[in-house]
Amino acid sequence: MKLFIRRLFVFFVFPIIYIIINSIINYYYFQNIKVNIGTKNMLIAGDSHPKRAINPVYFKNAKNISQYAEPYVLTYWKLKEILKYNKFDTLLLGFSPHNISNFNDYKFYDPKWSGEMFKRSYPIEEFNKIDNQIEIDYKKYYNIIMRQFIFYPIKNHNNFIGSYSNSKKSSLDNLKGAVKRHYFWKNNTASISKISVSYLDSIINLCGRNKIKIILVSSPVHESYLNKIPLKILSKYKSLKNIYNNHIIIDQLKTQYPDTFYRNPDHLNKYGANKFSKYLYNTLNKKKDYN
């Protein structure tokens, strides 16, 4: 038995040393995270809608930092972190009905999203401020942190900076899946996410405090998807537009593009993104208060 324990100890010594060394190195890199957006004066933020729909090449000095499935909570933490070391003067923020649907409240809990969300948010999270409002799978969270620290040195722990991404593909087949994901939670119609609404407000206030012009943007969705958005959520979306009408709001939700311009029922593809980005650029240029 003693021989067994001794051999077991010897066996595990090397991996433990390996883990400790990696953890120390990663902790050093983690403590010294400095997000650098370069000399960009415009940021495009939000989830897959602005990620796919707004091509930064059509704007002067713009960077698209959007990421798939990003809730406003995460966008807020991200912007706060970026503003520690960078300055920019304009923010294009994706703002559509699904952004305020309460399926967003499960992104730090449901296995579909939580792993990815934790991977992005661990350097910037403020879970203690929200864990009384939404469920957080802390077990999964610590698991993700462990995985980020022990395997090998990671110089860049800021997984929260996204980019523009799209393709030429077009398929309107999976309407049911998209609607179910955004507006139905466990077979019940989704309600409004209070925390998403609250953090939308926080983002707007953050921009105000830092003298950043915020522009709320909703990209076109296919009418088959548009017709399925629950009235309750549409109504809240409209009321928020009224509340924030002192800011620039570019609502192209109902604008219909040719079917071949949609990646799927609620996202534009490359062709749609080019058209929408050009439109956005021209519209912003015409607006006096933007300039």
């Binding site: 038995m1 021989l3 067994f4 051999r7 077991l8 066996f11 090397f14 991996p15 296995p111 792993g115 077990k139 999964k140 698991n143 993700i144 995985r147 022990i150 395997f151 087949d173 999976n174």
Partner: protein, 482 residues
């Protein structure tokens, strides 16, 4: 608790240390500790269902004691029937109640009579299909006088609830496992090391192979109407390795863990995908279940003796019952039926006892003939697994018709095709390791034993790295709630 969880990673060393510390004490204390640890293990999932396993244990213990004293044939049959009805009654209620109700309603609707019975929201107790069969093996063997009934309630309870194999097998025979509780276990260094090695291999199969394959199998099966033919074939193959990695991996962890505690469990999988015909497959797949059905159902029915009608009848009964054991769905029954159809020609032509040894036992590679047989057998099992995985019969048939379409030779239209390729490479590496270790208890039992220790350690470290890399998500074992 799942074997691939932090909870078990903490539970096992604690139990291990206390268990061997207690080795210096009396045997019944060691058995009592195993019993308590097993109840904690089982109750971790839901403590309320401990009452079921305790009740089942008490009934079968007292049935055994009564059978010891009773010589009257009729009364002995009544005692046996009591045990069978109670155990199968629990199993039938928890597992099959809603199935029978739904089909009863469907049958009535078919004839134009609508009825609205209540479907119950029944939670299936973890491992009920396994421990009920395990205790039944005790009462049946006592009835047949193949085993002396025990007076040691603690030893018997520990046998029924022994935590390594409680929730997903192997389904142990009382003749094998119960006597191991009668004598003190002494620490065996080599057994413990083999046990650890088997646990490592089991975790690798479960986490690196099965969970990886599950991601793609689920993606493809859950969206099968959108997939092309080649993707559907890939989905079936991914599921084939998912179920094998999952289930045999769990068995390896169970057997390896038992070895750490000085117990020997029966082998449950013997490289089934290297089988050269379906009969060989069923001698190598879920051995504890197939031998249970053979000994307690097939042979009492007459087995393969008698005329062809009886052989056919018995074969269909055994495979359909085996299918039904897996789940309350017509897909499992059809899966069983398919396997019966595969098996029958071999039985009727008396070729079911060919290939008793592992393929290419004395050579490095199989012959072309052996390879062809393995390939065909593998193809048949992959086809049958489609029914096993499908949500319902309609889904299974639409899946199959999707395969045999003009998109069969297109590039699979799955998401993350690069990740899928990585998974395929892992499967190939896995098959190579399995092939190299096919003559042993488990694939890596002897691999690397002749290497220098540092080199062997690096091999194990790579496996542990892969386990941690692909881990992080607890995918429930397919058989967890059987």
């Amino acid at each position: 608790m799942l074997f691939n969880s932090i909870d078990f990673a903490i539970f096992l060393p604690i139990v291990f240390i206390i268990y061997w510390y207690l080795n210096s004490k009396k045997l019944y204390i060691q058995n009592l500790f195993v019993l308590i640890a097993s109840y904690i293990f089982y109750g971790w999932w839901d403590w309320r269902f401990l009452s079921l396993i305790i009740f089942s244990t008490i009934v079968d213990f007292y049935v055994g004691k009564k059978l010891k004293l009773e010589e009257n044939k009729t009364k002995r049959k009544i005692l046996l029937l009591t045990s069978v009805l109670i155990n199968l009654g629990f199993l039938g209620f928890f597992k099959y109640y809603n199935f029978f109700v739904d089909n009863f309603v469907a049958a009535f609707s078919f004839f134009g009579h609508e009825i609205n019975p209540n479907s119950l929201n029944i939670v299936l107790p973890v491992g009920i299909s396994f421990y009920t069969f395990q205790t039944l093996s005790y009462t049946i063997d006592v009835y047949k006088k193949n085993l002396k009934p025990t007076d040691n309630f603690i030893a018997f309870s520990a046998f029924v609830s022994f935590f390594p194999q409680l929730v997903a097998g192997p389904i142990e025979r009382a003749t094998n496992l119960l006597p191991q509780f009668y004598k003190k276990r002494s620490f065996d260094y080599q057994k413990a090391v083999d046990g650890l090695r088997q646990i490592l291999w089991g975790l690798f199969k479960k986490i690196v192979i099965a969970d990886n394959c599950a991601l793609f199998a689920n993606q493809i099966f859950n969206n099968s109407s959108d997939m092309n033919g080649s993707a559907l074939i890939l989905g079936a193959i991914f599921f084939t390795f998912q179920i094998y990695g999952d289930f045999s991996g769990y068995s390896d962890i169970a057997i390896g863990t038992s070895r750490l505690f000085g117990f020997d469990l029966m082998k449950n999988f013997a490289f089934p995908y290297f089988s050269r015909n379906i009969a060989e497959f069923w001698r190598r797949w879920h051995i504890s279940l197939s031998t249970w059905f053979r000994d307690y159902v097939y042979i009492p029915l007459g087995g393969s003796r008698g005329n062809n009608f009886k052989k056919v009848r018995n074969t269909f009964i055994i495979f359909i019952v085996s299918g039904f054991w897996h789940g309350a769905n017509w897909t499992f029954i059809i899966w069983g039926l398919l396997n019966a159809i595969y098996f029958l020609p071999l039985l009727l032509t008396k070729n079911n006892r060919n290939f008793l040894d592992i393929v290419a036992k004395d050579s490095r590679f199989p012959s072309l003939y052996e390879f062809t047989l393995m390939f065909l057998t593998f193809g048949l099992t992959v086809f049958a697994w489609i029914f096993f995985r499908a949500e319902n019969v309609r889904h299974a048939f639409s899946y199959i018709s999707g395969i045999f379409s003009k998109t069969l030779f297109d590039i699979p239209n799955i998401l993350n095709i690069k990740s899928a390729l990585v998974s395929i490479i892992l499967i190939v590496l896995f098959i190579i390791l399995e092939w190299l270790g096919r003559r042993e208890e488990f694939a890596i039992a002897k691999i690397g034993l002749k290497w220098y220790r540092p080199v062997r350690y690096v091999f194990y470290y790579l496996m542990i790295f892969a386990i941690f890399w692909y881990g992080g998500k607890e995918q429930e074992f397919i058989y967890f709630q059987f």
